[in-house]
């Protein structure tokens, strides 16, 4: 745990040094606290926001993945299951489509969070307040597919080629050119969602014995379900809002920490969050180091690295997964 924290700090600082204008480690550290001319401008205004966003978003995605895997008692669960990221993306895409705002304006994150909230409301209304987890997943998949289809429709109908480019690039996910305003805008949602999810630890622990037993142990299963689904949607929505679609961090982070902390859902939450922060910060450093004309999109990198890990997990756990509950 402390090793993960140290790693986040180290990568966070490293993330201040890499970019088109390389700044030595100590200069970067000094530029944070004192005026070092252009180095301070670059570090404070350009690189600090993206480092903070990488830690916050990666952390939230990690906690979200661990909580959803605990709730669904399935090691392959992720926030995409409930359709919130897709709905958040649709909210943002509509803003771009109607030309209401550019890719870096604040209307975008607000629309994305609104999209995520609408999607949870829709899922909960369709599934019913006491709806079983399976019904919630089915409703979430349907809402997610609908949002995905609407996004594709917006892209195909867009009369403006610039809007199309903007939409497509934004959907690929990036932390480039984000400001402190983006941090302030998303941080309350990300922190609140993570805190709510961390608080469900004991309930998720009881849920490893099934919903009936958890209920008999004094857990309010229906409320836990609402908190986890709602907080995941808010967290994923806020993440998509400022960084576009970044997949697989939430799926992979819990698997990275389980060999170290065990499978108890309560004990994987925080370490999974830290691991998510490490993953995304490392990925955000990597996209700036990969030599290419334009910066590689971070969502593309996490998918390219995440999918093989995903396949490896499936191959390794084939037999166990065959028996896993839905």
């Amino acid at each position: 745990m402390s090793a993960l924290l140290a790693l986040i700090l180290l990568l966070g600082l490293a993330s201040l040094t890499v970019g088109p204008a390389p700044i030595p480690f100590w200069t970067a550290a000094k530029a944070l606290v004192s005026d070092e001319g252009s180095a301070s401008v670059i570090v404070r205004d350009i690189r600090l926001p993206r480092a903070l966003l990488a830690v916050l978003i990666g952390g939230t995605l990690g906690v979200t993945g661990a909580a959803l895997q605990g709730l669904l008692r399935n090691p392959l669960a992720d926030s995409t299951v409930f359709g919130a990221p897709q709905a958040a993306a649709l909210g943002a895409v509509l803003v771009l489509y109607f030309g209401l705002a550019g890719a870096l304006s604040f209307a975008l994150p607000l629309a994305a969070i609104l999209g995520a909230l609408v999607s949870i409301a829709l899922v909960v209304v369709v599934a019913g307040r006491e709806g079983s987890t399976l019904v919630l997943v089915l409703a979430g998949l349907a809402v997610g597919s609908l949002a995905g289809a609407a996004t594709s429709l917006a892209i195909s109908l867009s009369p403006n080629p610039f809007a199309v480019t903007e939409i497509v690039f934004w959907l690929l996910g990036s932390l480039e050119d984000r400001s402190m305003v983006h941090v302030w805008l998303s941080a309350p949602f990300l922190v609140a969602a993570s805190a709510a999810l961390l608080a469900t630890g004991p309930a998720l622990r009881a849920l490893s014995l099934g919903e009936e037993t958890a209920e008999s142990l004094g857990v309010n299963v229906a409320r836990t379900r609402l908190i986890v689904v709602g907080a995941s949607a808010v967290g994923a929505g806020a993440a998509v809002a400022v960084a576009g679609a970044i997949g697989f961090v939430g799926l992979v982070a819990p698997h990275l920490v389980r060999p170290l902390v065990g499978h108890d859902p309560a004990r994987t939450l925080l370490p999974a969050g830290l691991a998510g922060a490490v993953l995304l910060t490392a990925a955000d450093c990597a996209v700036r180091l990969i030599p290419s004309g334009v910066e590689v999109r971070i969502g593309v990198l996490t998918a390219v690295l995440g999918v093989p890990v995903f396949l490896w997990i499936i191959a390794r756990r084939r037999s166990a997964l065959a028996e896993a509950p839905a």
Partner: protein
């Protein structure tokens, strides 16, 4: 000795079906009561309602003077332990951690047990004969071992009431005897223990009392020998069977299934 359970005029409607109708029963502490009846008789619904997981449409379940459905979740969880039918564990947790989940109602987490919890967990593991298995992942155990680990989890709650839904259904004969002995032991120690079972002959050897349900109604309630008569097996289960006393229990040999009609409910009580 803890107060027993009082079931008063209990009716439960699930969806559009009346699953239980006007059930009245007193389940005293210190006894192992076995609930039996054909599939769909309402046995599981009865247990889940007594556990507080289902609200009755009419009637009440009292533990001492307190209504089970009026208690807070936390209070109920410390007083009623419930072992569901065919329960499983979703993650490869070590046996000790699974058993320690029984301490959650007491505010103890598996990685932060108080001395009271440590003792309860150790005693539960000893009671089901899983000493030496504490660190084994529960998902790697055999069916019999896993069932005993889950029973130990319910025992570790140390609640005055223990409800077990088909605790021996998936077990080999040896494990069936071991688990029933543990349940009877718990009853002898003063708890109210209620188990749903299908194996009537086995039940007759361990139960202090049998409750027979059919289509949501109480058909018979008394000692195994009084409840399990050939005539009642024919009326309730639709089988022709030979019933004979044998040692502490009954030998029940089913001979053939009778053609079933939707006849009137047998209502005799003993």
């Amino acid at each position: 000795m803890s107060p027993g359970l009082q079931i008063q005029g209990l009716s439960v409607r699930l969806g559009r079906r009346d699953v239980l109708s006007g059930l009245g029963l007193a389940l005293p502490a210190g006894r192992l009561t076995v609930v039996a009846g054909p599939n769909g008789a309402g046995k599981t619904t009865l247990l889940r309602t007594v556990a507080g997981l289902i609200r009755p449409t009419v009637g009440a379940v009292l533990l001492g003077n307190a209504s089970v459905h009026g208690m807070t979740r936390a209070a109920r969880a410390t007083r009623i332990a419930y072992l569901p039918q065919a329960g499983g564990v979703s993650w490869p947790l070590p046996v000790r951690d699974v058993v320690a989940l029984g301490r959650l109602p007491h505010g103890e987490a598996p990685d932060a047990l108080r001395s009271e919890g440590e003792r309860a967990v150790a005693e539960a593991i000893t009671a089901v004969g899983l000493v030496g298995f504490e660190d084994r992942p529960v998902t790697e155990l055999s069916g019999g071992e896993r069932a005993r680990a889950l029973l130990a989890r319910a025992l570790a709650v140390e609640a005055p009431v223990l409800l077990a839904d088909e605790p021996v259904a998936a077990l080999d004969p040896r494990h069936q005897l071991l688990v029933l002995a543990v349940l009877r032991e718990r009853a002898r120690a003063g708890s109210t223990v209620v188990a749903v079972m299908h194996d009537l002959a086995l039940a007759s050897r361990f139960a202090d009392r049998m409750v027979l349900l059919d289509r949501g109604r109480l058909v018979a309630d008394g000692t195994p020998a009084a409840v399990l008569t050939a005539a009642r097996l024919e009326a309730v289960f639709g089988i022709e069977a030979a019933v004979a006393r044998e040692g502490e229990g009954l030998a029940i040999t089913p001979r053939r299934a009778l053609p079933m009609g939707e006849g009137p409910l047998p209502t005799s009580s003993c």
